[in-house]
């Protein structure tokens, strides 16, 4: 589904955050990228989403090159993204937030209604809260709203940047359950997270990003050995 080849992203001239990355995100699976702080995970998500332009390399979605497109255009091609930071529209209601998520289908009233129903089924927490101002929701629910809103455009590929950040353990479990639901509904998921356990648990494919480079990657089962060693390194700072 998504092919990234030789991607290099710079920050302010000459500082390379991502160095020549290549990875592959298969359809209808959960692909996770893990790595220590500052590895460039958020940058990777933002670059795929179109918020950052790469210096070199290509990003191809279902055969279409998207790395030249603006963020808005990529939504039309099936990209949805949930940013790391709080990004609900705080002064608007939950329903208004969701409707804005459906911007690209706003012309078709019927499709919009159906999608809203569909999304509310996937995210029942929001059903009772449609009239509330988004800024008044708890952190966890805001996160749920952000994911629901991103789903309103029926994306082929959903990008999640640290979905568990700042959430209580119970909320983290809840969010990951929702993510799993999405996978079952034919959405390809690409996520980065610092919460290694949950993230790797939920994933089918895992890549490890360290200091801007992919250290290893592939099916979770196949790379579990090297994965385990790397994690040990981070946690105990021992070099093997």
């Amino acid at each position: 589904m998504l092919k990234i080849e030789n991607l290099t992203v710079e920050y302010r001239r000459d500082i390379e955050i991502l160095k020549n990355i290549s990875l592959f995100v298969p359809e209808n699976k959960v692909t996770a990228v893990i790595g220590p702080n500052g590895a460039g995970k958020s940058t990777l998500v933002k670059t795929i989403a179109g918020l950052i332009r790469p210096k070199r390399g290509s990003i191809t979605l279902d055969g279409v090159r998207i790395d030249g497109m603006s963020a808005e255009e990529r939504v039309k091609h099936g990209i949805g993204v949930v940013l790391q930071r709080r990004s609900v529209f705080p002064q608007m209601t939950v329903k208004e937030n969701l409707m804005l998520g459906g911007w690209i289908i706003k012309g078709d009233k019927k499709a919009l209604e159906e999608t809203l129903e569909f999304v509310l089924e996937l995210f029942p927490d929001l059903k009772q809260r449609l009239a509330l101002k988004a800024g008044s929701l708890s952190g966890g629910l805001q996160r749920v709203l952000e994911i629901a809103r991103a789903m309103m455009s029926r994306p082929k590929l959903l990008l999640l940047d640290e979905p568990s950040a700042g959430l209580s353990p119970m909320m983290v479990k809840h969010v990951y359950r929702l993510i799993d639901n999405l996978k079952k509904n034919n959405t390809t998921i690409f996520l980065v997270d610092q919460n290694i356990r949950q993230c790797v648990d939920a994933a089918d494919y895992v890549y490890v990003l360290e200091l801007g480079e992919i250290k290893c990657g592939g099916r979770k089962e196949e790379i579990s050995e090297s994965l385990f060693n790397l994690i040990k390194e981070w946690l105990y700072l021992e070099r093997s």
């Binding site: 989403a49 179109g50 918020l51 603006s70 963020a71 808005e72 939504v75 039309k76 949805g80 993204v81 940013l83 990004s87 609900v88 529209f89 705080p90 002064q91 608007m92 208004e96 409707m99 804005l100 998520g101 911007w103 690209i104 706003k106 809103r149 991103a150 309103m152 455009s153």
Partner: protein, 296 residues
């Protein structure tokens, strides 16, 4: 007896101020729109208003149309000017340091100088059959032009409120003003929304300028005075709420009216300056409560 006359006069001033306040709110709303959506302070805002006053003036002179009709015509012309300005000046400006504010300063110079060159510094105003007429309400007189300005302003503000809160496009504008990055991730075309907002803002300024041409005589250098009024209202009311802007407009108008009554007409604007500086000092974190600073 003396006290009685004074009270009537004071209430008369009050009524006149209220009517003017509606127009002031309209003056402010354009500035609020641009600042809300693009975080740019358009210093040339007042000059767009004056330019629109001239447009209305010349349209009514040349085509001998009913002044109210020309005011309506001025709106799309002003919006077009706004759109062109956005494309040529505003779009793609480095948000770094003060490029936007300096550019709008340059715009101010361009507009004022062009108007001076084209139409000289002679004061103009539009005189209509009803310019001197007033509606009589008991012992009070409501000048017709002010009444019209008030009604039209409030109507426009109400329409704008409806547009921003009940239509998809309006909500998209609000979304871009609350979080433009998030909006772009939903497929909302941020740059186009900004262009639209700029055009809309100058359109509002167009309406304000048109109404203004009925109310007083104007010269090309009058712009900054109205910019100041808009700034004071924005400082008082914030940018999120149109009703708050209306109240802010009323407050400013009342303050100015009584200020110049007690201090003399030369000090009319000083009242506004002082209010502004006081507000800036008392809220040093910035003017607008509803904005969250995303810095560092």
């Amino acid at each position: 007896m003396l006290a009685g006359i004074e009270v009537i006069y004071i209430i008369q001033l009050f009524l006149g101020a209220i009517l003017l306040g509606g127009l002031y709110a309209l003056v402010a709303v354009g500035l609020a729109l641009i600042f809300g959506v693009m975080r740019i302070l358009n210093i040339a805002h007042g000059d767009f208003i004056i330019l629109s006053a001239y447009i209305t003036f010349w349209l009514s002179q040349i085509y001998k149309l009913d002044p109210l009709l020309t005011i309506i015509l001025t709106i799309p012309i002003a919006s077009l000017v706004g759109f062109v300005t956005y494309l040529s000046v505003i779009r793609g400006l480095t948000k770094s340091f003060e490029a936007p504010i300096v550019s709008s300063f340059g715009l101010l110079l361009i507009l004022q100088a062009s108007m001076l060159i084209a139409w000289s510094g002679d004061p103009r105003s539009i005189v209509t059959p009803f310019t001197a007429e007033s509606l009589v309400l008991g012992p009070y007189l409501l000048p017709l032009v002010r009444l019209i300005a008030f009604i039209v302003s409030v109507a426009a503000l109400t329409l704008l409120h409806y547009f921003l809160n009940k239509t998809y496009l309006g909500r998209a504008i609000k979304a871009v003003s609350q979080d433009s990055e998030a909006a772009s991730t939903l497929g909302i075309p941020v740059s186009r929304i900004q262009a639209l907002t700029f055009a809309l803002s100058v359109g509002m300024a167009g309406l304000a300028g048109g109404l203004l041409s009925l109310l007083l005589s104007f010269t090309p250098t009058l712009g900054p005075e109205y910019l100041l009024k808009a700034l004071v209202i924005l400082a008082l009311s914030g940018i999120g709420n149109i009703l708050a802007l209306l109240i802010g407009g009323l407050v400013l108008s009342i303050g100015e009216t009584y200020g110049s009554f007690f201090l003399g007409s030369g000090y009319r604007n000083v009242v506004a300056y002082i209010i502004l500086i006081l507000i800036l000092l008392l809220k040093p974190a910035g003017l607008f409560r509803s904005l969250k600073e995303r810095e560092v």
